[in-house]
Amino acid sequence: MQISGAEIVVRCLQEEGVEFVFGYPGGAVLEIYDAIFRQDAFKHVLVRHEQAAVHAADAYSRSSDKVGVALVTSGPGATNAVTGIATAYMDSIPMVVLSGQVSTPAIGLDAFQEVDMVGITRPCVKHNFLVKDVAELADTIKKAFYIAKTGRPGPVVVDIPKDVTQALAEFRYPESVHIRSYVPVTRGHPGQIKKAVNLLLEAKRPYVYIGGGAVQGNASAEVTEFVRMLGVPCTNTLMGLGAYPGTDRQFLGMLGMHGTYEANMAMQYCDVLVAVGARFDDRVVSVPEHFLSQPKKIIHIDVDPSSIAKRVKVDVPIVGDVKHVLREMIDLLRHQGTAPNPQHLSDWWETIESWRKHDCLLYTPSDALIKPQYVVQKLYEITGGNAIVTSDVGQHQMWAAQYYRYNRPKQWLNSGGLGTMGFGLPAAIGAQLANPDAQVACITGEGSIQMNIQELSTAKQYHTPVKVVALNNLYLGMVRQWQEFFYGTRYSESYMDSLPDFVKIAEAYGHVGFKIEKPSDVEPVLREAFSPALKERLVFMDFRTDQSENVFPMVQNGKGLDQMDLPPHMHKVQGVPFENNRDYGNMC
């Protein structure tokens, strides 16, 4: 029996086991919406802006093992989706975005609501398709899901002209896909793996640098086993948080621009580094030459060969899936029955403890002003460290990364690569739908939240009881911090005048709102928000925080990892990296 292209789309999504489609209707996709109306295999979530549909679908992927799906109309619907697509692309998140397109005969004629979606998204997708023939629709959607989730994951756009959704064809969903030009590697080269293991066993100051690839590759168990069996210190990137338990002693905290003192010092002074699904981003290693000026051997595990030796040259590249490669390394280590020299390791740990004891994340508590760090710490305590936390972009994002300790992968969802303000709330909605029983908190700023605040309406409609923790400093705080440090405190356009009353906004959307102005109210309000009485409600907490607070430590652009700006209590430490006076310069 022949069915319409629109029905084929719906059937394909059913075959893929899709639970939710995040979308927004319009002319070019009316046929698809009609087919959605007539089915009940999946639920459609009507957002209030297409960007939010894509962020929600993205977070649905980030917080589960499934592939999020967004559906938007042609023209403005498609362009609104672009920021969301680029966000997912930069963080290697699998996702399928279906966009409507004008009918094939109208393509190229500047038709109503026509944009070249394939052209616009080409540089920010893993792949995209324009389906010109209904006979190819099912195959194309199958390929889209396959490409999105295999190899280095990423978003895939399928652009579907309206006449294709109306045309009829037999439906047959392919069971498997074979793309001759796309064969992702999974297993690492055995010779390289052996080399890596030998290098590690000879190391004096080994260090493991774990990134988003370990989260995306579901390799948390392997990463943890590997680090523990070697007894070596490790760090996570912003995208890797949770891949290794944040409360474990071997974890030195996040590294990079706003990483901990110990994590950054160890990165600079290690002699053998294992990079696991991490891409030496410029927010981690600002100056490769400075980083390599301290001699070290680097082992780099990544599914994407182009991530290897892109910014930093490495000694042992291993192209493969982290889960497989680490499993083989673990087996080999077991077999060899050896660990790094215990004396060297204990010396290394001694140095690390001397760095760690400064407690670089210490901040000055206050009875008068709410410290943003304190709010995050309390959130951590009150949620028992179990919440899924989404965040927006800015200072609050960094505090959320530093002061909430993530023990599970896929618990911390944020836009790292693109740094998209407006990600947090729609992401929280997507994560809540993927994890209906989880507590979901969105840590945001008064700037970021206003970029997609309309999604409070979506949250109402779909009963997603997200807890919004707004660290309201009245400033585009991250911008203000840079202006304080680098632009002579000229706070050009970073102060937010005329802020709305967020409590009233929350209430207007049918939610619960609290304004918190005193440090002593922080804990009681958070407790109430997470109490059984408000379990089913979205609670918006507007915390009026210390406006002048800055994020520390900070590695300025162009500086080395051991050249951090440190918080006031560590000023005496600056420039004295080694308390025990070991001369690391000549040890390699």
């Binding site: 080409r122 540089p123 792949h127 030009s181 060969p305 182009s306 030796a309």
Partner: protein, 163 residues
């Protein structure tokens, strides 16, 4: 350094723009690019001449390989290869220039493929260097126009780029 990359890709709409888009988005150089279908109509073969440091060329190769429609990429510079480019040059050929142009075309093993009272059109094939040399060798002021195909390349001997 100058490199000749040979790329086998799916003969599909949009594949070429992905390659070109990659070069412009990442700031790589394209000195020349040629593309056409192969004996297998589902495949296109592209030759890109580019230049850059070894690190940049390595990234270009990796990024090209990452494109879903790219089947294979080789850097012809890695071993013995042959390079050919075709150039059509229309020159003013009057008076004593007429003999001179004929002579130059012969020296470079070019062929005069179109003749009018005042012009010759010379077809010349060879490495890009040889074509450059020809242009250098003749009097610039007599050149009316030149069209070059850009270089195509192929590995010597047993080395083939195939699925």
């Amino acid at each position: 350094m100058r490199h000749i990359l040979s790329i086998l890709l799916e003969n599909e709409a949009g594949a070429l723009s992905r390659v070109v888009g990659l070069f412009s988005a990442r700031g790589y150089n394209i000195d020349s690019l040629t593309v056409s279908t192969t004996e297998d109509p589902t495949l296109s073969r592209m030759t890109i001449v580019t230049h850059g440091s070894e690190d940049v060329i390595e990234q270009i190769t990796k990024q090209l390989n990452k494109l879903i429609e790219v089947v294979k990429v080789i850097d012809l510079n890695e071993s013995e290869h042959i390079e050919r480019e075709m150039m059509l040059t229309k020159v003013r050929a009057t008076g004593k220039d007429r003999e001179e142009m004929k002579r130059m075309a012969d020296i470079f093993r070019g062929r005069i493929i179109d003749v009018t009272e005042k012009t010759y059109t010379i077809e010349l094939t060879g490495t890009s260097d040889k074509l450059n040399a020809f242009i250098e060798a003749i009097d610039r002021t007599v050149i009316l126009e030149t069209v070059r195909t850009g270089a195509s390349g192929i590995g010597r001997g047993e080395r083939v780029l195939k699925i």
